[in-house]
Symmetry: C2
Subunit: 211 residues, 2 copies
């Protein structure tokens, strides 16, 4: 149920209402599984369910989801900061630890890390009441030629995207200047540092959030 709620929340951030099928795809599960689980989530008051209607997460559902996301992101931060894992290694470990039921454990981790506001991929860490500070970032792919921006966060951080960025020496906080935007496919040429120019596809740039 925690996994369902977390995924529902992730999809909700992109789009207010959620199609059962999309959730099924997102979770690598078949539609009937989602259908039956949604009814259970609805019984707990975490989603609103009406037959044949799209799924809507409730206020209490968001709060519950934020708890899990908080645990996930605090864990990722802990893994990077204290155990020196790379940002592309932490997700699958955090996926497991996020389900640990021990509030004091995460409180201590939070304290030890100095109450971080975002995780190693720049995603905000909800506070312990479930409140998330909105981020005002924009997509790199929406920037104009000539703009100088700082990489603040990643939109969806697949392991393969993280590896690609690491290979090109791109990390959170680095500055990027938009040098060229290709009309044909939206790929962007960026200046990374003095003599370092790189080209990123539109797909990649869609996932880089900058300011």
């Amino acid at each position: 149920m925690e996994n369902y709620l977390k995924c529902i929340y992730n999809l909700y951030v992109q789009n207010d209402t959620i199609l059962l099928t999309d959730l099924a795809d997102y979770m690598n599960v078949k539609a009937p599984s989602v259908n039956s689980m949604i009814k259970k989530l609805a019984k707990n008051g975490w989603v609103k369910y009406e037959p044949y209607k799209p799924i809507k997460i409730t206020v209490s559902g968001k709060r519950r989801a934020a708890e899990i996301i908080r645990k996930h992101r605090l864990t990722e931060m802990f893994l990077c900061e204290m155990l020196e894992f790379r940002w592309d290694e932490v997700h699958h470990i955090a996926e497991q630890i996020e389900h640990i039921n021990a509030p004091e454990f995460f409180e201590r981790i939070d304290m030890l890390l100095g109450y971080p506001k975002s995780d190693p991929h720049g995603s905000p860490i909800p506070d312990k009441y479930g409140a998330i500070t909105a981020q005002a970032y924009k997509r790199l792919s929406d920037c104009a030629k000539g703009e100088l921006v700082t990489l603040k966060a990643l939109n969806r951080s697949d392991e393969s995207l993280l590896k690609l960025l690491t290979n090109k020496n791109i990390h959170l906080g680095c500055t990027l200047t938009v040098k060229e935007i290709e009309q044909y496919d939206g790929s962007i040429t960026l200046k990374l540092s003095d003599k370092v120019y790189i080209v990123l596809s539109k797909t990649v740039c869609d996932n880089l959030m900058v300011l």
Copy 2:
């Protein structure tokens, strides 16, 4: 299955062969549950099962159990040393974290802690190959009047025992002098420090391992 194997190992340490009923009691589960799980463990080669015979753990079962116990004890140590939990708070959190499947995670924790040899209750931490260094401790209840000993480990560390010891200011490494042994019930009067004398029941002393 991990929980079964861990419990089987714990009972095996006390007694080479294990009665199904004892395991059921130990795990707060009924006999038929154990019976069916034992067959699964046997299929994995972790225990030897013959109908109506007591359960025997195999070499590979011990190795597998040691992995889990290693994760449990490393976690307990991490919780005490890095997150400053008390020794009576760590068990229920470690019970959950021991099932995390991420060898690198525990390797890093181990490194961060400086490769500890025992957990906060003095129990040995198996190395990553499952080898456990035997401890040559004896029971406090087996000591003679006049002996001066150091508390090295606890036998079974229930939360209530830990709290009792904490209240009496007894911790690992503290020195104890056996002042009096009561014939009637085996309770022992101990000198803790200059003017501090305490009385512990035989039941408590059975669980205090000293050297």
